[in-house]
Symmetry: C2
Subunit: 390 residues, 2 copies
């Protein structure tokens, strides 16, 4: 191991420890990390290397509390535990780090505990959040599931919070069509909250991604729910509020999204429904009214060069990891193939192949047609360029 990678691993361990010291979104903690670096911050909090060095804005009382917490942290064990469960701890600077989270400034997560196969950065690039009331109406659940399925079918990754109601329906809608979905939790990724969604969260881990800022075994609190919302808002291209009462957490996510320059959308409902009142308030302001997945995709698809199909892949092929590249190579130049055939050609399991195919789909490399897969046709203009070029 080189000195550089030793430093990277030390910083990762320090960040893991700091997720036990600072609550999500603690901007002062974020500033200290930025100013002195995570490893040095941990050293200073541990009191290593002589008398405590002062940190700007840290009171003696706060220092004492942080010291207790950092002393109790066992980042090596946390990292090992999550790794044993097939997970990882993704930090700023990692290739998998979704850099749009940096828009949160010093409130960006210290790191993200992640479970699931796909690459977080690649998935986040084409993700849309569907959020809303826990105690939603059947109409709200229907809309969340329909939009989740429709967005997933169009190659978008559906992000939500794994809660009851709108969140659960959105995840299930995406899963039902074999699509991509990510859950951002307000607790440790080893904690299934709510308990009634244990199976759902397990399925998302298998077919998608489950992540959160909190270290293993941590439980959600009211403020953790609220602060989790900023991660959903920052991670995605836009946030759709399906049903929400006045002053609900979903509206906090929507307002975060707006502040971060993401698209903020709302699904209208009956004017007589209190569970649509919050959405209507949003729509009377900056929110854009959407009624189906096509409208959402059209809106969020406008950003930059990332509209699917028409413009081809969003990433150069070289940036794909080995397995994804092998799966891509396993697709024939024309015609449809099944996921199983792709797996056979690439020498992987069908599950692995399907996971990567959805990833490649969300990146614009491949298309799914019914049960089959094929390479995304090259747009005519690119084909011309290619012909005219080499």
């Amino acid at each position: 191991m080189s000195g550089l990678s030793r430093d990277v691993e030390a910083d990762r361990r320090a960040r893991a420890a700091l997720t036990r010291v600072f609550e999500p979104g603690d901007e002062r903690g974020g500033r200290w990390i930025r100013e002195v670096g995570p490893s040095e911050l941990v050293r200073r909090l541990m009191g290593e290397g002589g008398p405590a060095q002062p940190l700007k804005g840290m009171t003696a009382q706060r220092l004492a509390a942080c010291r207790l917490r950092v002393a109790a942290a066992d980042p090596a064990r946390d990292l090992a535990e999550v790794a044993a469960a097939g997970g990882r701890f993704v930090c700023p600077g990692d290739t998998e780090w979704p850099s749009q989270l940096d828009d949160l400034g010093d409130a960006r997560p210290i790191g993200l505990w992640v479970r699931g196969g796909p690459d977080l950065r690649l998935w986040a690039l084409r993700s849309v959040a569907l959020v809303g009331a826990r105690a939603c109406t059947p109409y709200g659940a229907h809309m969340a599931a329909t939009l989740g399925a429709g967005l997933a079918e169009r190659g978008w990754v559906v992000v939500s919070g794994a809660a009851f109601g709108v969140d659960g329906a959105a995840h299930r809608g995406a899963l039902a069509v074999g699509g991509a979905t990510m859950a951002v939790l307000a607790c440790g990724v080893d904690v299934a909250y709510p308990k009634g969604h244990t199976e759902l969260i397990g399925r998302i881990v298998e077919q998608g991604l489950v992540m959160g800022e909190l270290p293993p075994s941590e439980h959600p609190t009211r403020s953790r729910f609220i602060l989790r919302n900023r991660v959903i808002a920052a991670l995605t291209r836009g946030t759709v509020v399906v049903e929400a009462q006045y002053r609900s957490g979903s509206l906090v996510t929507a307002r975060n999204a707006q502040r971060l320059g993401r698209f903020t959308m709302g699904v209208p409902g009956p004017a007589t429904s209190g569970l649509s009142a919050g959405v209507h308030e949003l729509l009377r302001g900056e929110g854009v009214l959407v009624t189906d997945a096509a409208e959402i995709a059209e809106l969020v698809g406008e950003i930059g060069d990332l509209a699917p199909v028409r413009r081809g892949p969003v990433l150069p092929r070289d940036l794909l990891d080995d397995l994804a590249a092998r799966i891509l190579d396993a697709l024939p130049w024309s015609g449809l193939v099944s996921g199983r055939d792709v797996a056979r050609a690439a020498g992987t399991s069908t599950d692995q192949a399907l996971g990567r195919l959805y990833e490649l789909h969300s990146l614009g490399f491949v298309e799914s047609v019914g049960d089959g897969w094929r390479l995304t046709p090259v747009p005519p203009s690119d084909a011309d360029t290619r012909r005219g070029g080499a």
Copy 2:
């Protein structure tokens, strides 16, 4: 009768005749009226005073058709018939003419055949249109009735087209709270269309206003319905679409309203409802989402100095007609009185008194509280001015 009033009456007769010559919204007809005056235009079409004088843009064929129509017209009989039924023909230049219709340019109505007691101009000043689908859902009917009642209770005049569905529910909502409502018909004001609304239209004549551009006995056609919508849009402060499919007539009214600089509003509904799809399309564009009467009143009340109560009457007292002024004088300086007491004090029937009280209400002179009436309190700032002044 002076020479001037003889001219006014001749022009009125000529305009009445011309409502039998030109279809509603005929801009070329409107231009000819503007260029040569209604009486001279009728003379020329009749071929009086020698050989026909040319009219810019009139073909020989068109002239022949107009001649046949003007020859068949009997404006004196039409005016007498409508007057016998308690109606009148209101023309540009009349004190009752709602001058906001002039925003339609040469497409403004030649005149309006009107039935009902209140002053059209005064009512139009504080009116809002509620329009929508004939085949509305129970939700649409509920919203139309609720908004109609809520606007009427706030002193607004509810304008609609007397059609089945949303229109009827809006009128009925206003009538149910003893409020003010106007129907703009696409046929003669003596024709009850649709037949099933004969009684409703009769009630509107008694408690409100029924009007239209078409002379007695004329029936509606598809194009007359569409052109009627521009009158609703121009007459009112704003148009609220309650339920509408794509490309529906209600959206035409809304778009007219937008073009004329009026407020355009829409009531959201379930994204799954085809009868809300047109409204949602409107709300994705310029339309403002509204869910209750208070929101509508807040929006349209922003224009100029016409917000009720807070700013006092919208018209100087001298401009009230004799009966309205008598009714106003019959109210005590403080405290509530019943409509019957007002009628007794003013020496009128209770019906007449109530009609004028609603008119005075919509003009900001009086307030209704439960079943009682009282003078609108003078706003503190005005009271100060008054005290400081004389």
